[in-house]
C-alpha cells in the first residue's frame, strides 16, 4: 500500500487557551481529493496550515509524503513546501507584482530556468486558468474570482504533488465558484493530491473523493459524500442538506 501523501497524527493546537484542534488525525492517499468541511471557526484552515508548516502543533505530528515536518528546520521545511501549492482564501497575491510575476515568482526562486522559459511557463499556467491576457495587470485590477484563479495558477506554478486549497468558493458567485471547482477537478485528474477546506457542499461533492466533517477540532464524520448523506449525526445531516455558502 502506498504511503499517504498527507497524514495528521493526533494533532492538537490551542490559541489563547482555546483548543482549536483536538487530537485531529487523518490521512490522505496520493492523487485523491480530501475535503474538510465544517462551520466557521472549527479549525479547518488551521489544520490546512499545519500541513504546510505555517502553524506548528502543540502536540502530535504532521507527515507529508512520509516526511515528518513538525521537527524540520527552516531549510527542510522549504524543501517540503516546494512540492506543495497553497491557494489562500483571499488569493494573497503579492500586490507589488504583476499577475504574471506572481505566477513566475516560485519559478524564479526555485528553478534555474531562463527568463524566457519562465515567462512562457507562467503564461501557460495563466492560460490554464483563463488569464493569459492578464499577465501584465496588477492584482488590484482583477476581480475577486480572477484573483483566485491567478492564485491557483501561482499555487500550480511548480506542478506540486500536493495542492492545499482554503475556501475556494469564499466570496465568489456560484458560476465562478463552479469554474474554480472544475479547475481543481482537472488538477486531481492530473494526479495532484488535493486538500480542500470548504463549507460549500456542492463544491465538496464535485471535488472530493472523501469528505470529513470537523467540529470543535475533531472529525465527527468521514467518508464519501454518500456516506455523509446517510450519517445519523444531526450536525452532519444539517450540513450536508445545506447548499453551503459562497
Amino acid at each position: 500500500m502506498s504511503e499517504p501523501a498527507v497524514r495528521l497524527d493526533r494533532v492538537s493546537k490551542s490559541f489563547a487557551g482555546r483548543k482549536v484542534l483536538d487530537e485531529l488525525s487523518f490521512d490522505i492517499p496520493p492523487a485523491r481529493a480530501f475535503c474538510l468541511l465544517g462551520r466557521s471557526g472549527t479549525g479547518k484552515s488551521v489544520a490546512l496550515r499545519h500541513i504546510i508548516g505555517l502553524v506548528r502543533p502543540d502536540a502530535g505530528k504532521v507527515f507529508v509524503e512520509g516526511r515528518e515536518i513538525t521537527s524540520l528546520d527552516r531549510r527542510g521545511l522549504a524543501d517540503v513546501r516546494k512540492r506543495m501549492g497553497f491557494l489562500f482564501q483571499n488569493a494573497a497575491l503579492f500586490d507589488s507584482m504583476t499577475v504574471g510575476d506572481n505566477v513566475a515568482f516560485p519559478m524564479r526562486r526555485h528553478t534555474d530556468w531562463t527568463e524566457r522559459d519562465i515567462r512562457e511557463r507562467a503564461t501557460r499556467k495563466l492560460a490554464d486558468v483563463g488569464l493569459e491576457r492578464d499577465y501584465d495587470k496588477m492584482p488590484a485590477e482583477l476581480s475577486g474570482g480572477m484573483q483566485k484563479r491567478a492564485g491557483l495558477a501561482r499555487a500550480m506554478a511548480l506542478d506540486p504533488s500536493i495542492l492545499l486549497v482554503d475556501e475556494p468558493s469564499a466570496g465568489l458567485d456560484p458560476m465562478t465558484s463552479a469554474e474554480i471547482d472544475q479547475l481543481l477537478v482537472e488538477r486531481k485528474k492530473q494526479g495532484t493530491t488535493l486538500v480542500v477546506v470548504t463549507h460549500n457542499i456542492p463544491g465538496a461533492r464535485m471535488i472530493g473523493d472523501e469528505l470529513a466533517m470537523l467540529n470543535e477540532g475533531r472529525i465527527v464524520a468521514r467518508g464519501t459524500a454518500d456516506d455523509l448523506d446517510r450519517s445519523d449525526d444531526p450536525l452532519v445531516q444539517a450540513f450536508m442538506r445545506s447548499e453551503g455558502g459562497g
Binding site: I52, G53, L54, R81, A92, P106
Partner: protein, 266 residues
C-alpha cells in the same frame, strides 16, 4: 489602597516596554545574523535602496537646502554682533556635518521610509502575503525584513552626504544674498575647519539610524494585527518609535565619537 491599581498599571506598562524592547532586540539580532547567510537577495536590496535612497533624495535635498538657509540666517544674526561674519561658512558646515545633517536625515527618513515599511509589511501581514511567501518556500523574514534593514543602513550615510551638501549650498545662497560672498570663498571657508574626524564618524553613525528605522518598522509590520486599523497603527508607531530611538541612540553615539575622536569635542 487606591494607589495599588496605579502602580500595577505603571508596572505593567514598564514590563510591556521591556518585553517590546526585548522582542525588538531579538528581531534585530536575528536580522544581523541572517544578513550574513545565503541567499543574499541582492536584487531586493537594490530595489529597496532605490525606494528608500533615491526616492528620498528630493525630500532630503530640499530639507537640507532650507536648513542651510535658516542656519545661515541665524548664525549671521549672532556672529554679526561680534564682527565674526567670516566664520559663518565654517560654523554652518561644522554644525551641519557633525550633527544637524545626520539627525535631520535620520528623522526625515524615519518619517518617509519607516512609515512606508510599517504600512507595507503590515498590509502584507493582514492580507496573508507574508504567509504566501512562506508557503512558496521563501524565508519571509529574510526576503522582507533583512533586505529592507540592509537597504536602510546603506541608504542613510548616502543621504547624509546629500543633506550636508544641500545644507552648505543653502548656506551659500543665503550668504551670497546677504553679503555677496563669492562661492569659491564660501566653500573654502566652509571646509577650512572640517577634518576627517568631523565627517566620517558623524556620517557613518547613521548606519545605526538606518538599522533602527529598518528594525523598528519591519518588526511593527511583521507583528501587525487587527486589520486595516492595525496597519495604520503600525505605520504611525514605526515613525514615533524609530524617531525616539534615533534621538536616544544619537546621544550614545555622540558620546562614543567623543571617546574615540577626542579632537571632535575640542
Amino acid at each position: 489602597m487606591q494607589t495599588l491599581p496605579v502602580t500595577d498599571r505603571v508596572g505593567s506598562f514598564v514590563l510591556a516596554c521591556f518585553e517590546w524592547a526585548g522582542a525588538l532586540a531579538a528581531f534585530g539580532g536575528r536580522a544581523l545574523v541572517e544578513a550574513f547567510r545565503p541567499p543574499y537577495e541582492g536584487s531586493e536590496i537594490l530595489r529597496h535602496l532605490y525606494q528608500f535612497g533615491a526616492r528620498s533624495a528630493p525630500l532630503i535635498l530640499t530639507s537640507g537646502f532650507a536648513i542651510g538657509v535658516v542656519l545661515s540666517l541665524h548664525t549671521r544674526a549672532s556672529l554679526e554682533r561680534f564682527g565674526a561674519q567670516a566664520m559663518i561658512p565654517a560654523g554652518l558646515a561644522i554644525a551641519l556635518i557633525r550633527e544637524t545633517g545626520p539627525l535631520t536625515a535620520g528623522l526625515l527618513v524615519s518619517g518617509r521610509v519607516g512609515a512606508g515599511i510599517g504600512a507595507e509589511l503590515g498590509a502584507m501581514k493582514v492580507t496573508e502575503q507574508i504567509d504566501a511567501l512562506e508557503a512558496n518556500a521563501v524565508d519571509a523574514f529574510k526576503f522582507l525584513a533583512v533586505t529592507r534593514i540592509l537597504a536602510c543602513m546603506i541608504a542613510m550615510p548616502l543621504l547624509v552626504i546629500l543633506i550636508d551638501f544641500a545644507g552648505i549650498f543653502g548656506g551659500y545662497v543665503a550668504e551670497a544674498v546677504a553679503s555677496g560672498m563669492p562661492w569659491r570663498l564660501y566653500f573654502e571657508r566652509s571646509f577650512l575647519l572640517i577634518g576627517y574626524s568631523d565627517f566620517v564618524p558623524a556620517t557613518f553613525k547613521t548606519v545605526v539610524f538606518g538599522f533602527l528605522i529598518g528594525c523598528v518598522s519591519c518588526y511593527l509590520g511583521f507583528t501587525t494585527s487587527r486589520g486595516t486599523e492595525g496597519v495604520g497603527d503600525a505605520s504611525t508607531r514605526s515613525v514615533v518609535a524609530s524617531s525616539i530611538l534615533i534621538i536616544l541612540a544619537d546621544v550614545l553615539l555622540v558620546k562614543l565619537i567623543f571617546f574615540f575622536y577626542p579632537q571632535v569635542s575640542a
